[in-house]
């Protein structure tokens, strides 16, 4: 045991000397490893980011909510067949609200884009959402300041609004927005509440950049009442989601006058679909990442093997000297394995140092942080590649005949 430890230390010392003596060559050799480690790290970081963003932005909406919409999420269906579907209208929402026994809250949701103004400050292209008082329950969002509009305000079509946090920051940098009157398009609305910040997901439009107003007023001021809507249905409990879905489906089919043989001309979307979409994005990133990583590490490993053969040849004389004074095969093998592993570890460290700033760029798109586990994995992977690709050269070195090696010039 002590033999091994001493020989290991000697190997480490010598390999550091060798790497230092050939700085340029060592750095170039590790390039493949560097690329491999950068890719494995960024992949890990991106997946971590997706996970976080998903949990934050999407899971907040709630797994017990059904989204009755014209089109299904995630596409994949025959667009040409479904693009002519009839819009969903407010009367469908009424039908569900009246008949669904498994729904805890039902709310219509529709939207358009307008500029929003307060005094001199202006935000262009804001999504204006028309909905009713139940929205706050189905959306799973929380109000940070003030309140959401009441059923009375909603039904009466009062000119009140709740605004997203980004709008609040942009229009009211230094004052309390509650009670202030803003202009949405050409119409005045009084701010009654500000939503809590939600963040954005996968570069989708920020949920914080929205204004929410009563849907009745929305139809009189921003659209005619034939504009399509979505209906958000919150089930009474999580385990009733599937039953609620069937119930809503039946109500919708009846309300839209579908015959038994007709297909649904609407979609009832669920977060599950989003989870699937998310998972398939994750799988794609992981697949591409693993492919690049594997390829780079393979090429890098070949490079390391090559340079280790060169190193063994260059140092034949040294090997002869060591053998002459009593180094066993094991010690020579260990020395070159350590050198190869140290070289790859160097590549791994350069790779991590390169990946870290890049992960900060990813952070701009997908809030994330480089996970500690991926750092450890990266370092272990590089050591492993070093040992595997260094084995053949090290084995050859350990088998050299001492007399021949000493005579080598």
């Amino acid at each position: 045991m002590r033999y091994l430890l001493t020989e290991f230390k000697e190997g480490l010392l010598i390999s550091l000397q060798a790497i230092r003596a050939n700085k340029m060559r060592s750095a170039l050799t590790t390039l493949g490893i560097v690329i491999g480690i950068v890719s494995v790290t960024l992949m890990g970081t991106a997946i971590e980011g997706l996970d976080r963003a998903f949990n934050k932005s999407i899971a907040a909406i709630g797994a017990d909510v059904l989204y009755v919409q014209k089109f299904p999420w995630g596409g994949g269906q025959d667009w040409w067949r479904i693009r002519n579907r009839r819009d969903i209208q407010i009367r469908h929402e009424r039908a569900i609200e009246k008949q669904a026994s498994l729904a805890q809250a039902v709310t219509p949701v529709t939207g358009t884009r307008r500029q929003v103004k307060y005094e001199r400050k202006l935000v262009e292209n804001v999504v204006v959402v028309g909905t009713d008082a139940d929205f706050i329950e189905t959306a799973g969002a929380t109000i940070a300041f003030g309140r959401f509009f009441t059923p009375m305000e909603a039904d009466g079509g009062r000119p009140v609004c709740a605004i997203g946090s980004e709008i609040a920051v942009n229009l009211f940098p230094n004052e309390n927005p509650i009670g202030k009157t803003i202009k949405v398009g050409n119409y005045a609305y009084r701010v009654v509440g500000v939503f809590e910040r939600q963040g954005n997901f996968l570069g989708m439009e920020s949920l914080d950049n929205r204004v929410y107003i009563p849907i009745n007023r929305f139809f009189s001021e921003f659209a005619n009442s034939r504009q399509g809507i979505q209906v958000w249905v919150k089930a009474v409990s999580l385990d009733q989601v599937e039953n609620a879905k069937e119930e809503v489906r039946g109500i919708m089919r009846k309300a839209r006058g579908l015959k038994p043989r007709d297909e649904d001309d609407f979609a009832i979307n669920q977060q599950e679909i989003l989870i699937q979409t998310f998972n398939s994005i994750g799988v794609v990133i992981a697949g591409v990442g693993l492919f690049i990583t594997g390829l780079a590490l393979f090429v890098g490993g070949i490079g390391i093997m090559n340079i280790m053969f060169v190193s063994v040849t260059e140092r034949t004389k040294e090997i002869g000297i060591r053998k002459a004074i009593g180094a066993p095969r094991r010690a020579i093998l260990l020395q070159f394995l350590v050198e190869s592993a140290a070289l790859c570890l160097l590549g791994g460290i350069i790779g991590l140092a390169t990946a870290f700033p890049l992960s900060l760029i990813i952070d701009q798109v997908l809030p994330t942080a480089m996970p500690v586990s991926i750092v450890i994995v990266a370092l272990l992977v590089s050591i492993f590649v070093g040992i595997v690709s260094g084995f053949l050269p090290a084995y050859r070195a350990s088998r050299l005949d001492p007399v021949d090696a000493l005579r080598y010039e």
């Binding site: 002590r2 033999y3 001493t6 020989e7 010598i14 002459a324 009593g326 180094a327 066993p328 095969r329």
Partner: protein, 239 residues
């Protein structure tokens, strides 16, 4: 005096393609403890081949080699490495030091493979370096030393494990005659301190330091005699 080396009918054949080179053709030799032997002979006569076999760097094609009573002619690679580490100190014509390591590390090296602790290694290495008179060069690299000094480092490295025999294959071959004399003075001293020494040389003056002279020709021992007019280094120089 006990016998350290016993060679019986040692042969060594090199295969050069079709041709066979008979480097050694039946060498018989016995060397006792604390002997001081010079091996001489014309170029190509097989001196180095013989030294490599005695030093366990190489194995004979046929014959028996007993070192300290154990048969080493049939040992495997790792067993031979152990013998080289413990029993043999080898000094080469071209010094063969590790260029990137300093004097101390070079001398420590055999102890690393001998499994000594770090403190023990430092102590023994410093002692050996002191014996060859290089204490003030401990942290110099080989290329910062003169040829004579390098050979002293090599001798310190050979001594450090306290081996049964010191083997030197033309240790003065790369040195001028004055420095060569100094190195031989060092060997004389080590012999007086009880070491067993075998030196290969071309030069009569160098060989005259030894007690016994073995002449090799065409892979055979031609003559084996005691040195009549021994030459002792005038001063055992230490710097």
């Amino acid at each position: 005096m006990s016998t350290i080396i016993r060679l019986f009918n040692i042969t060594k054949v090199y295969q050069m393609g079709e041709e066979e080179v008979h480097a050694l053709q039946g060498v018989n030799l016995e060397i006792k403890k604390n002997e001081y032997v010079a091996i001489m002979g014309p170029s190509g006569s097989g001196k180095s081949t013989l030294m490599n076999i005695i030093g366990c760097l190489d194995t004979p094609t046929a014959g028996l080699y007993e070192l300290n009573g154990t048969n080493v002619s049939e040992m495997n690679d790792n067993q031979l490495a152990k013998i080289r580490n413990k029993e043999i100190g080898f000094v080469f014509q071209t010094f063969n030091l590790l260029a990137r390591s300093d004097v101390l590390h070079n001398v420590e090296l055999p102890l690393i493979y001998g499994g000594f602790s770090s403190a023990e290694r430092k102590r023994l290495a410093k002692e050996a370096i002191e014996r060859v008179g290089l204490s003030d060069r401990m942290h110099h690299k080989p290329n910062e030393l003169s040829g004579g000094q390098r050979q002293r480092v090599a001798i310190a490295r050979a001594l450090v494990t306290n081996p049964s025999i010191l083997l030197a294959d033309e240790p003065t071959g790369n040195l001028d005659s004055r420095t060569g004399e100094e190195i031989m003075g060092l060997f004389d001293m080590l012999h007086q301190q009880g070491n067993t020494i075998i030196v290969v040389t071309h030069e009569e003056e160098i060989a005259a330091h030894a007690h016994r002279m073995v002449r090799i020709r065409d892979g055979k021992v031609e003559r084996d005699e005691m040195v009549k007019h021994r030459r002792i280094a005038k001063s055992i120089v230490t710097s």
